[in-house]
């Protein structure tokens, strides 16, 4: 009769499994047909093994989080890895005693309650289980501290909780201390248990323990488990299980689409709310602290995302880069913008009625079609330098947007105007293909990003001028003189994190001057604050953020601050006396 205490645990677990089955079932059935095919086709391949490996490393060990924030990673690892091992070895222990694995789950879970006898290996298992419990308890202790004072974790802000989160959180906090107490009570009465429960058991004996007390503690332990299981699917802890599903789907080659869909939802629910994205966000400098990715994902789940939060983001990609779960935070945000603005996309009908320019009479197909982009037209220094380098290298080119050009479509994309962007893409795409040039040369990383991601230009290679000039230099078509000027390079977000181009600009700068490193560079580089990704950030706030970025970049007092984006250049030049130059200008000067 006294074993009724297993009921809360058992019912909770059954409830959890039913909910999970329905939730995951719905998500997976709602995936697109092609995505489902991908799952089926990849199931019996290496990808599944890779996914299992990653699930282990990220879901249990929390390797990425550990790398970013060791203390936070350790805490998560205690809970996930510790609990996982506790379950695994609980079953091993139960198998060793009963000689079968076909036992109802409450036998391994409440093993110490049921089994008081000695059996071969009993001492070892009891101590091992106690060690695992101690390991988890160290994590619990850290979790208590984190709630009280998040600063010891180096976290500026910890995430806020909903009522159901609180239920799950409190149950989770109680589970392991209660297990310790329940097992210790049993140890006090029957003398079993390892180094930990036995020691605490001695203390229990000293204060006097009765079977009623023991039973009550096991009830409490089971209840906390039951509450946790019931609360789990509706709380933030759902991320633990969703993340594993996400890892598998990602390994099966499923990609985030522009439109918010079932896979987007799985990503949204995979967020562990660890708060790493809050820490890397530069908005703090301007005292903006409600729009970071973790809050946006929460707002998506709670369906209360406001425009102000949605649009107030530089889309610099620092949080995406830092996210231990590897959620596509930028594209998720853009997909929300697409959803929010889909009612008012322009069709750009005027593009159809523009006078067709007479085809340029050329002797041969140009080697390069050059698209300067809107921003480059307001930085004539960059434009003039690019043309100068092309001329000197003897490259034949067609200047696509010399006089009248349409925008590339990326700024629309960033604002969520997906349908509208498609119209500009179609218009420009035709012009690019008509040129028959094998290389599309761009000066603006914003354009570069959309050409690479959304244009489908087939055989045409898309190159940023830094990549192209490096090639010209390596082929000996241009020769560069090295000066002794010290240069610090700023990675533009769209070129660096956006397109993964980090080295070509640096290689060029090493050829032309004395390149210095900066504290935060490459994947960790800071945003200049000029980004078109943010729709509502005020100029005053942008200036504050820019000021902080400049402080980091100019720490070594360089002669030149180099960048590879007209927008970054325009943004920086406003705040400093130091020379701000685009890589094209530096190359053009070094040719003299």
């Amino acid at each position: 009769m006294e074993t009724y205490f297993i009921l809360p645990f058992t019912l909770g677990m059954i409830f959890l499994f039913i909910v999970l089955f329905i939730k995951y079932g719905l998500w997976i059935t709602k995936l697109s047909h092609i995505d489902k095919l991908r799952i089926v086709q990849s199931f019996f391949t290496r990808r599944t093994w890779d996914a299992i490996k990653e699930s282990f490393m990220e879901g249990l060990v929390h390797r990425n989080m550990y790398k970013r924030n060791p203390l936070l990673g350790y805490m998560h690892m205690c809970f996930a890895m510790g609990w996982f091992l506790l379950i695994v070895f609980g079953h091993v222990e139960s198998y060793m005693y009963y000689g079968t694995l076909a036992k109802a789950p409450w036998y391994p879970i409440f093993f110490q309650y049921y089994v008081h006898d000695w059996f071969p290996g009993e001492r070892f298992m009891a101590n091992l289980m106690d060690f695992l419990l101690l390991y988890i308890l160290s994590g619990v202790l850290l979790a208590y501290f984190k709630r009280i004072n998040s600063k010891i974790f180096g976290i500026k802000k910890t995430t806020k909780l909903k009522p159901l989160d609180r239920v799950a959180l409190i149950s989770l906090w109680f589970i392991f201390p209660l297990r310790l107490l329940a097992e210790s009570a049993t140890a006090a009465l029957y003398g079993n248990g390892g180094f930990l429960t036995n020691t605490v058991g001695h203390f229990f004996t000293w204060i006097g323990v009765t079977p009623t007390m023991e039973s009550a503690l096991w009830w409490a332990y089971s209840l906390s488990l039951g509450f946790f299981f019931v609360g789990l699917p509706f709380s933030r802890y759902m991320h633990i299980l969703t993340e594993i599903l996400f890892i598998f789907l990602r390994h099966y080659g499923i990609k985030l689409k522009k439109q918010f869909n079932s896979y987007s939802r799985i990503q949204v629910y995979s967020c562990s709310r660890c708060g790493v994205c809050i820490d890397v966000c530069q908005m703090h400098v301007a005292n903006i602290s409600n729009n970071q990715s973790v809050y946006i994902l929460k707002n998506i789940r709670d369906q209360n995302l406001t425009d102000r939060k949605l649009y107030n983001c530089l889309l610099c990609g620092r949080c995406e880069q830092a996210c231990p779960v590897r959620i596509n935070l930028n594209d998720l945000r853009i997909s929300q913008r697409i959803r929010a603005t889909k009612e008012y996309n322009s069709d750009y009908a005027f593009l159809q009625t523009l006078p067709v320019e007479p085809p340029q009479v050329v002797d041969k197909t140009p080697e390069v079609i050059y698209f300067a982009g809107c921003m480059t037209h307001i930085t004539p220094g960059i434009k003039k330098s690019v043309l100068k380098v092309l001329d000197k290298a003897g490259v034949s080119y067609q200047f696509m947007d010399k006089e009248k050009g349409a925008c590339c479509g990326r700024p629309l994309m960033l604002a969520g105007q997906y349908e509208a962007a498609q119209k500009l893409i179609a218009y420009n795409r035709e012009k690019i293909l008509d040129s028959k040039a094998p290389i599309l040369l761009v000066s603006c990383p914003i354009c570069y990003k959309v050409f690479r991601d959304d244009y489908e230009l087939g055989q045409i290679t898309i190159k940023h001028h830094s990549e192209y000039f490096l090639e010209l230099a390596k082929q000996g078509k241009i020769s560069l003189n090295k000066s002794d000027k010290s240069i610090v390079y700023h990675d533009p977000c769209e070129l660096g994190r956006g397109c993964g181009v980090y080295e070509p600009p640096r290689d060029l700068l090493r050829m032309t001057g004395n390149l210095q490193t900066s504290q935060q560079e490459k994947v960790n580089s800071l945003c200049c604050s000029g980004s078109l990704g943010d729709m509502s950030l005020s100029m005053a706030d942008r200036n504050v953020i820019k000021g902080e970025t400049l402080k980091v970049l100019l720490k070594s007092n360089p002669d030149v601050l180099a960048t590879a984006c007209p927008l970054c250049k325009k943004t920086f030049v406003k705040g400093v006396d130091v020379q701000v130059k685009d890589i094209a200008e530096i190359v053009a000067e070094a040719m003299e």
Partner: protein, 343 residues
């Protein structure tokens, strides 16, 4: 210990020294350049009378000589430190350390670096010059006026508000003297090249001083200078070196393209870099526009947050020659009051 140390040997500094001498005080002037006169050395003529700048400069050179003012040329101030007894210790690039009862800051201003407005093409296109470049050119003019690419200009445009009233330049304030300077230079260009079309692209015309509005009217009536109410946005260069301006004629509500041979950017005044130095070495307070903040805008514009530390001229904001001279005369009385009170 000397009574007053004056930082800057431009017209503000010299005038301050003259006035203080008249009141019976001993002064020295510290000037970083090799001559006195500051920016006045660079100007050709002064508004609104087209009077030669060297005439005004000659007046001050004569005064300096006649009064035997003590001036340290080629001397940079490194720091100013207030002592416990209220006096100042001034360290300079020379070995001497000056000690004075008061300091008058007359360090003036610097001009906006037009390269920062990259879309205007300064430093990129040959025929884009600044208003200061034009003054120098006019001053050295020998024979016919020609553009940097050696052409007698047929079309010239003046662009108002370059580096002032511009959030993108970091200068929100109005530099106030560029409007009238543009009108003066436009007239001058018309006199030199009577066949040229001269345009002024402006946001607002601020003809605040005596004779300014009359000059504006003269530019329209007599010289047919065309005023376009629109701010320049972008400049392109044609193969022949002429420039294409993109500006909206806002009164006609139509974008317009103008081809010109010469583009003159009316660069605004900015706080001199040295004010930062005083901020650091003696806690001088500056306004958000980076100029020195007067203690009282209306009845104490020569005073600063530091007792015994005064200002004269454009270190507190854009100022014309005559405003500067008046401000410098006024500081003499502020210094006298202070010295009398602390005697």
């Amino acid at each position: 210990m000397i009574d007053v140390l004056i930082i800057g040997g431009g017209i503000a500094g010299i005038e301050t020294a003259c006035s203080l001498q008249d009141l019976g005080y001993e002064t020295i002037i510290v000037e970083k350049e090799k001559t006195i006169g500051g920016h006045l050395n660079d100007w050709d003529t002064l508004f609104p009378t087209h009077r030669s700048a060297s005439e005004v400069l000659a007046h001050y050179t004569d005064e300096t000589r006649r009064r035997a003012l003590t001036i340290y040329l080629n001397t940079n101030v490194i720091s100013v430190k207030k002592q416990d007894d209220g006096s100042f210790e001034v360290h300079t690039s020379r070995d001497v350390v000056f000690r004075s009862k008061t300091v008058v800051l007359a360090s003036g201003y610097r001009l906006f670096n037009a390269e920062k407005k990259e879309e205007y093409g300064y430093g990129i296109y040959d025929n884009v010059i600044t208003s200061a470049d034009l003054e120098k050119k006019l001053k050295q003019l020998n024979g016919e006026f020609k553009t940097p690419t050696d052409k007698v200009p047929e079309k010239i445009a003046f662009i108002h508000c370059v580096g002032s009233r511009d959030e993108k330049s970091g200068n929100h304030y109005c530099s106030k003297l560029c409007c009238v300077t543009a009108v003066k230079q436009a007239i001058h260009m018309k006199q030199l090249c009577p066949n040229a079309n001269v345009f002024c692209c402006y946001m607002d015309l601020r003809m605040y001083g005596p004779g300014f509005e009359e000059m504006y009217r003269e530019a329209q009536e007599k010289y047919h200078v065309q005023f376009i109410r629109g701010r320049l946005s972008e400049v392109g260069e044609n193969a022949n070196g002429t420039l294409q301006l993109k500006v909206e004629d806002t009164l006609a509500a139509r974008p317009c393209k103008i081809q010109v041979d010469l583009l003159v950017l009316m660069v605004g005044m900015e706080a001199d870099k040295s004010t930062e130095l005083f901020q650091q070495s003696c806690g001088l307070q500056c306004a958000p526009n980076r100029f020195v903040k007067p203690k009282d805008h209306h009845i104490g514009s020569n005073l600063t947050n530091i007792d015994g530390f005064f200002t004269a001229g454009a270190c507190i904001g854009p100022m014309s020659v005559f405003d500067t001279v008046n401000h410098a005369k006024a500081v003499a009385f502020s210094v006298r009051d202070y010295l009398n009170a602390t005697k």
